[in-house]
């Protein structure tokens, strides 16, 4: 356990060094968040009765999305990992007395967390200071805070576990281009990164809610804004646990199988 903790710390501290990139990313996210809210406001003013959630809950969703982008972005890949598999450099990693899956999992967590830690606070504070329906609204009850944090953790673990399946699949396919393409284009929309899932039309929405991608940012952000509560909230949390377990198991089985037949061609 201790060695994985050290890996985590190394990667986390490494990530914290990129402050200029974080600052510039923050500026982008402020603008993005503002534009997104202006856009939804236009729709709200056109037909308020068609709006599937409270405007406040939507603003909260958008600001959390911008603040924690690094935790839940499904289009972010460490090309170094893909590269190490295709070039065979992964052999060096395999020499170490650690399990590849755990090491990369911890690495994925650390990279995302370090990016998020640098960016989230200023965005959250700024969003909190904005006037009522456009800013971040904090929930009153302890209950909501607790379940948001729980759900955020589950969502993050799910995103990393999902990423692991993609990384390890390259052991089988060698080229990462195809899988990256399919995953990136599908997951963005299905996880609610383009428009929040409640805005999808009936029929499609129920279907998308069953898919694993709905277990990422969709659940915690909606709990925090008060849009998801009661029975639905517990079901969604269970869904998160389920999909996390599924992807952890798939990833580890794939890793075991891949490493059994991996051939390193000298060099």
């Amino acid at each position: 356990m201790k060695k994985y903790w050290s890996f985590f710390r190394i990667r986390f501290i490494h990530g914290l060094q990129y402050r200029a990139a974080a600052l510039s990313g923050m500026v982008t996210q402020f603008v993005w968040g503002t534009m997104e809210i202006l856009l939804f406001r236009a729709f709200y003013e056109s037909a308020p009765q068609s709006f599937p959630m409270e405007f406040q809950a939507l603003s909260t969703y958008i600001w959390l999305q911008q603040a924690f982008l690094a935790l839940y972005m499904t289009w972010f890949w460490e090309s170094e990992l893909f590269h190490s598999i295709t070039t065979g450099n992964v052999a060096y990693e395999l020499c170490r007395p650690v399990r590849l899956y755990h090491m990369w999992f911890v690495r994925g967590l650390a990279v995302r967390l370090s990016k998020a830690v640098l960016r989230c606070m200023p965005i959250l504070v700024f969003a909190w200071l904005l006037p009522a329906p456009y800013g971040l609204t904090l929930p009153g009850s302890f209950h909501t805070w607790f379940f948001t944090l729980l759900s955020m953790t589950l969502g993050l673990l799910f995103v990393v576990a999902f990423g692991m399946v993609v990384y390890i699949s390259v052991f089988y396919t060698i080229s990462s281009q195809g899988i990256k393409l399919i995953v990136t284009s599908l997951s963005e929309f299905l996880s609610g990164a383009i428009i929040p899932l409640p805005f999808l039309p009936d029929g499609i929405r129920e279907f998308v809610n069953f898919l694993p991608f709905a277990s990422a940012q969709n659940v915690p952000f909606r709990i925090f804004g008060g849009d998801l509560k009661g029975h639905d909230m517990y079901t969604s949390l269970l869904g998160q646990v389920f999909w996390l377990a599924v992807f952890l198991v798939i990833g580890q089985i794939m890793e075991r199988n891949a490493l059994k037949r991996v051939v390193i061609q000298g060099g």
């Binding site: 236009a42 929309f189 383009i194 039309p201």
Partner: protein
């Protein structure tokens, strides 16, 4: 050899080199298509739910989206080298370009022609056709000319932004990520007519960065929201944005002291 012929030669070289990696080219093209298809789905589902936004119907929004996307894509295909200018400066490529007996800007543009954007262009074309077909616009020669002018004006504005971006690289020697707001941001949020975002943003996009001049005002004329046909000529005014961008490039070039690599 004149510049057009030279550009053709470069285009052919880029095409040939890309065809060496056919699978990669195909996958990148599909990727381009799928990413913007996601944005299209977002628009589709939003319009499905709300029917109209600030008086614009689904067909009209698609028309607006396709024009912006097309202008951006054409600009990115031709001016992509300016968007990644920091690498050209960083690896000393620009110093080699300066030694050649041609305009430096011209040679920089020749160094990269991003043909993989064809996937996105295809989507823009399909949406444009669908938008023309499904919106209730009565097509007159003036209106058709307006669409063409909007696309030309859009390419000019995006080209100017890429040029400003590259000129700043002369001083900073590295790219400034927040400039993406003006390129990717404009593509992303230009899918809807700019006016729906409110007065403040419309003012910024009229006087500071002239997005609205090629996208919003002529579009008002196109959809019959205003009968003032002068609006359809505003994209030409947007082209004037190239002048300060060009001046900045020349200024940057005159102050450029190699990176030494």
């Amino acid at each position: 050899m004149n510049s057009t012929r030279l550009y053709e030669k470069y285009l052919l070289i880029h095409l040939k080199s890309m065809m060496q990696h056919k699978v990669s080219f195909l996958l990148t093209t599909i990727g381009q298509f799928l990413v913007s298809f996601n944005i299209f789905l977002g628009v589709r589902f939003m319009m499905d739910r709300f029917k109209e936004v600030k008086g614009f119907s689904y067909g009209e929004v698609l028309l607006c989206f396709s024009i912006t996307l097309m202008a951006f894509t054409i600009a990115e295909t031709i001016f992509r080298s300016l968007d990644t200018f920091e690498t050209i400066i960083g690896n000393g490529e620009f110093d080699r370009i300066l030694l050649r007996p041609r305009g430096s800007l011209f040679l920089v543009l020749c160094s990269k022609i991003e043909l993989t954007r064809i996937g996105r262009l295809l989507q823009a074309v399909v949406m444009l056709i669908y938008g023309i077909y499904s919106s209730s616009i009565i097509w007159t020669p003036v209106r058709i000319m307006t669409v063409v002018l909007m696309i030309i004006g859009g390419v000019a504005v995006f080209a100017a932004i890429f040029l400003i971006f590259a000129s700043i690289c002369f001083f900073t020697l590295e790219g400034l990520e927040f400039m993406n707001i003006f390129t990717d941001g404009a593509r992303e949020y230009g899918k809807y007519p700019i006016g729906i975002y409110g007065k403040t943003l419309l003012t910024i996009c009229t006087y500071l960065v002239p997005f609205a001049l090629f996208q919003y005002y002529p579009f008002l004329y196109l959809t019959g929201k205003t009968s003032d046909s002068w609006y359809s000529l505003l994209p030409l005014a947007a082209c004037l944005f190239l002048i300060p961008a060009g001046l900045l490039w020349n200024f940057g070039l005159s102050r450029y002291q190699s990176t030494g690599s």
